[in-house]
Symmetry: C2
Subunit: 294 residues, 2 copies
């Protein structure tokens, strides 16, 4: 790998070439910073599509072959597979390979890494989370500009090599992303509120619909654009969200509990026909929503 202002990657290896992995490949290719991309993943049909669409140059069928001479390894499989894959790749990692990931939770990924990766690889590991995506999944949803203008949070360890962190920053910047660094526990706490909790609430809303009628269509016919947007994230991958919820379980449970307390307070205002109280809640809510420019 040559050392430029924007680094050049001769060989990028992506584990899990779906929306996130595929978009990273396309973005780096478009930025002209990557030479060769090797993909590896359990969904062969998806991998074949990634190859046909030119997202990757090659499909590897084992980690030993994939990881030879890798400059950069991008882990983009569902969070639930992290531990297994950390264990499987560990024996095949070269010391200079930079490792980063895209997991929606960070503490659990770090625990897996510390458990399975040798110290020489840990110093080149930069845990990361691009806050981008759609409810779609698979490589067909991948797009070169997915990360443009989006936030990427990096949660380096104490032992992370600063030069490695810098390179990962530059690569994400080459994808058009804005970089923040913070501690993994802070990341997991923030995301529990802004992402994991809303997903659980939206999934629960759709499930509730399922339970409240034999014929959800009869209700949905009268659902408007508000409902459509509110529940869009309930179209997300069940497997992925099962894994995220479990990976960030304690923090998410804490947030669900706290949200519930808040909801009970609104319920009490409504029970008491407290006009002023209700309006104040809605006003506070709207004020925050309106000051937010995403």
């Amino acid at each position: 790998m040559k050392n430029h202002a924007t680094p050049h990657i001769d060989k990028l290896v992506i584990i899990g070439v779906g929306l996130i992995g595929g978009s990273f490949a396309l973005a780096l290719r478009q930025a002209g910073v990557v030479q060769h991309i090797t993909g590896i993943g359990r969904n062969l049909e998806n991998m074949q599509r990634a190859l046909e669409q030119g997202v990757i140059d090659e499909i590897a069928d084992n980690y030993a072959a994939a990881l030879i001479d890798a400059d950069l390894l991008f882990l983009a499989m569902p969070v639930g597979q992290t531990e297994l894959i950390m264990a499987q790749i560990a024996p095949h990692l070269e010391p200079d390979t930079i490792i980063t990931d895209a997991g929606s939770t960070k503490q659990d990924v770090i625990i897996s890494a510390l458990k399975h990766l040798p110290p020489q690889n840990i110093i080149n590991f930069v845990p990361g989370h691009p806050i981008a995506g759609t409810e779609q999944s698979g490589v067909t949803a991948a797009q070169a500009n997915l990360y443009k203008g989006k936030h990427v949070v990096l949660t380096p360890l104490e032992q992370t090599n600063p030069a490695t962190l810098e390179i990962v920053c530059q690569l994400w910047q080459a994808c058009g992303a804005k970089i923040s660094t913070m501690h993994a526990d802070e990341h997991d706490q923030i995301l529990a509120i802004t992402s994991h909790l809303p997903h659980v609430l939206a999934f629960t809303m759709m499930r509730y619909l399922h339970h409240s009628t034999n014929n959800p269509d009869s209700l949905l016919r009268f659902a408007g654009s508000g409902f459509r947007d509110f529940t869009r994230i309930a179209g997300s991958s069940p497997e992925m969200w099962r894994d995220i919820c479990l990976a960030n379980r304690e923090e998410l449970l804490k947030q669900m509990e706290a949200y519930n307390t808040e909801l009970k307070a609104v319920q009490t205002l409504l029970e008491q026909k407290d006009q002023e109280g209700l309006e104040q809640v809605f006003q506070q809510a709207r004020a925050i929503r309106q000051t937010w420019h995403n």
Copy 2:
């Protein structure tokens, strides 16, 4: 008023010329079925804008003047003002004036109407609810195609004149809407689930953010498009939603309670680390979400 396949309205009176009332005016004008539109409302700046934008032809400053020779009266003020306005218009209504409204709840509007309007006007009253709108409000947000392809629910009374119902149907169809008729209680139950509950959940989410940190911006910086869509409806009018929640209070409380039970069940699955159970919940949720074509 001449009796055509699509009726022609010589004089339309709109009380509350905001997003809903203004869009109705624009749509009927575009369809060429209305001659003269008189607007009346408490926000004078908004009324002035409605006049300048050509949404209405005239501002009335009292109901007596406004309602002379009215063919159609469209009530599009916030639900909370319904009772007051029913009482105020009652003495000035002509027997032939068709009355319809756009309130998000229907039982309470009907109760107000029965309380204040003379029987001769009740037979020409068609309670309605166009399921359309955005989180914007005011006449500047009005648009001629707001109702195009959208559902309008009409909840006629037993004593509603069938010919009047037919005319209101035709007028909404002229706006491009799809019409359903049902009982008011059924309407309120459905909308509590598909609209009122999601609004309360979204408002509560934003309020929770307000309570969980001194600096919501620090959280919102890391909120993605999922959060943006989930909370879009929390940008809606606090006054309007206070009124809707209170107007449909009992049904909404029932739905909040039932949703809470559902949420607790998901929480229990997470507490028990029930992988399969969680995935099943998310799968059911996604399946319903994906079969819904809005």
